[in-house]
Symmetry: C2
Subunit: 135 residues, 2 copies
DNA sequence: TGAAGTTGGACTAAATCAGTCGTATTTAAT
DNA sequence: ATTAAATACGACTGATTTAGTCCAACTTCA
């Protein structure tokens, strides 16, 4: 519970790796997967999602790979999670993740308000840590 | 991802319910389950775990039920999660939850240090919110 | 003795997650 | 043109986790 998924871990490892190297150097999925001994296929998907969000730029074909697309200062852990998980945010409570009506105890729920505050505080934590601070 | 389990939700609802009522009033699992329309069996297990941790006191037999055992000010969300999940804490990174050697990328992992800091900040958030603040 | 409680282990079904496979597409080098 | 190296992406499998159920015990009061 409350553990980062492998997808997010791999995304952080990869984007940190790319962000650390001198500008515009190209990095392939294969290179990163081998260096950190992680699943090539899974990392490939993760990279695709980050490319789709515009956090990295994909260069197809021979000598292709990925380069970083944005200032590492503007890339937060929040953004990465959102990109690879596809969900709007880190949502600790069901009724905020989906529509309130989907929550089985909607109507009798007495803990929503305090948990929304908790949620806000957690969001802050994830919004504050940038990739820049990880290199 | 990063959603509270139903166990934790039910625990919070129940302990808040108990904490709200005048002192020493007894509350049965059945009463709480019916009031909030949640699974009796699941709530029963959750209550057992909280009783084992000493957060509530179980009174067996007829006219039994649970009473609160501690000042609601000293009961944090952290404690509740720990009680019902059985894990030492909210651990976002695998290598902190288990032994580092269990992590497949232990040795090549470059994101551990920043994530440990993230972990600390999250812990603070969960340690700060008490049941008292929920009533 | 029976009813109303808690205790707790075993089990099932559904959902999520990690990882794999196969195929298509793009592009640079030859 | 062809080939090799790279990304893109949907479908699938197996393992794990989670929610919830079932059932049999134990405890206590009236």
């Amino acid at each position: 519970m409350f553990q980062l998924s492998k997808r997010v871990e791999y995304a952080l490892i990869a984007i940190r790796h790319i962000a650390m190297q001198p500008n515009s150097r190209m990095h392939t999925t294969k290179e990163i997967a081998e260096k950190y001994q992680i699943s090539y296929q899974l990392l490939a998907k993760v990279m695709q999602r980050m490319a789709k969000k515009g956090y990295v730029v994909a260069h197809h074909g021979v000598n292709g790979g990925y380069t970083i697309a944005r200032d590492a200062n503007t890339l937060t852990i929040s953004s990465i999670i959102q990109a690879v998980e596809g969900k709007p945010n880190v949502t600790i409570i069901q009724c905020e993740a989906e529509t309130p009506e989907n929550c089985i105890i909607h109507g009798t729920c007495t803990i929503k308000n305090p948990l929304v505050k908790l949620q806000d505080n957690i969001n802050k934590v994830f919004d504050q840590l940038t990739i820049m601070e990880m290199v």
